[in-house]
Subunit: 235 residues, 2 copies
Amino acid sequence: MENEGQGKGLHARVLETLGPEITAGDVPPGTVLRTDELAQRFDVSRTVIREVIRVLESMQLVASRRRVGVTVRPTEEWNVYDPRVIGWRLAGRDRPRQLRSLTVLRSAVEPVAAGLAAAHATPGQCAELTEHAMGMVATSRGQQLDAYLVHDMAFHRVILTASGNEMFARLADVVAAVLTGRTQHQVMFADPDPAAVTLHVQVAEAVRVGDAARAESLTRQITTGAMAELDVLAP
Amino acid sequence: MENEGQGKGLHARVLETLGPEITAGDVPPGTVLRTDELAQRFDVSRTVIREVIRVLESMQLVASRRRVGVTVRPTEEWNVYDPRVIGWRLAGRDRPRQLRSLTVLRSAVEPVAAGLAAAHATPGQCAELTEHAMGMVATSRGQQLDAYLVHDMAFHRVILTASGNEMFARLADVVAAVLTGRTQHQVMFADPDPAAVTLHVQVAEAVRVGDAARAESLTRQITTGAMAELDVLAP
DNA sequence: AGCCAATTAAGTATGACTTTTACATCACAG
DNA sequence: CTGTGATGTAAAAGTCATACTTAATTGGCT
């Protein structure tokens, strides 16, 4: 379990080592890396390293300049919306900060998405929504946090995709990660907030009847609740 | 002006050709590309093509599999938050749809960002804000759209960065692109909506005095106005 | 100060070799 | 005759080593 599985290609393995090192701050901004050294360190050819560098460069994590080397860029310039960067940061040292950033983003996006979903959701999506809301009710008591989480993530994914906005839809994974992170940090025996569960049911209903304003307002209550919860467990 | 400047490296030039072709839909999802064919087509070595493919893969535009080739992935899987993907799509065929998506995203994010800015903005940022709001007032009449745009973009950039949330801050370029796109599509002799100008001044003031609720509400009026404007000029 | 040359590290090209895997072929059992 | 499964082959990406090119930094020389 020391090395990541060798199933993937070489460049993927190198990337999965170097990326997290950078996002975690182990290789601080301004550091200069040389391709030859990296090739030596990972015992791969320079070709492989170059491909990794290209990907890291496309994430704005590094900048490559002739005669000087590969420089780690300052944090503010990183592509923080890249799923892999998000994943690495969530797995790394400043997971709390990252979780907070993402929760704020979620609190901005989800209410608007819910409002749009009320206008655009297909009957099938409405059905899924109520189904998952019911699932949340059913699993909200008695230490079934894992089962609850599955429904919660599915619920929010449907909302985001039913909004009909591709930018919102692509945040489904991020929201899922946030929800997972929150569950993992919660006390194991604490059941979800009953008020939140009720709100989800009401959102599903509002979307079904096409009440955009109500769907938005209710979802805003959910997300502000999530932020308040974050403040309580803040590190 | 036929070819993009040859100042950058080879892989950048190939990327700037292949990327837009994919995002524009000229190379529809499901299409398989072979690396040696691409190498032949662009008259570069396979090494260069491989690096391009890696970057395209990191944008989730393509997937590379052995024995089959490089497959263009379906639109829903693209990394639509990647700045280059956004740029390519804005430059391409479905620019209207993209502009609409981004405007909706903006309408979700900016009000929340403004609320946070009211709580976190430094005195310096408040000064910048009023300065640019004043600039907008000064350039709002008499076909000075370009000068107006500069202040508008700067204003919103300050709001987003002053929010203190890195995810919001990284959307400044996107918002700038949206504002630019809107200006370019407007009739050349139409001055900006006076109501919008007033709202910007009021937002700057609300942020300065730390009235988060008011800053959020005013900004929401700005963004809903922007969306309404989009509906009028909808293609 | 300003210019030129040397040096350094990334960028590119090429060719040989490895690994994975889709596909077709064939054998066998139902 | 058909469907299932084992097997072999070939195609394309993946990897490596090496030689060469290009740009930019550094430092020395005028």
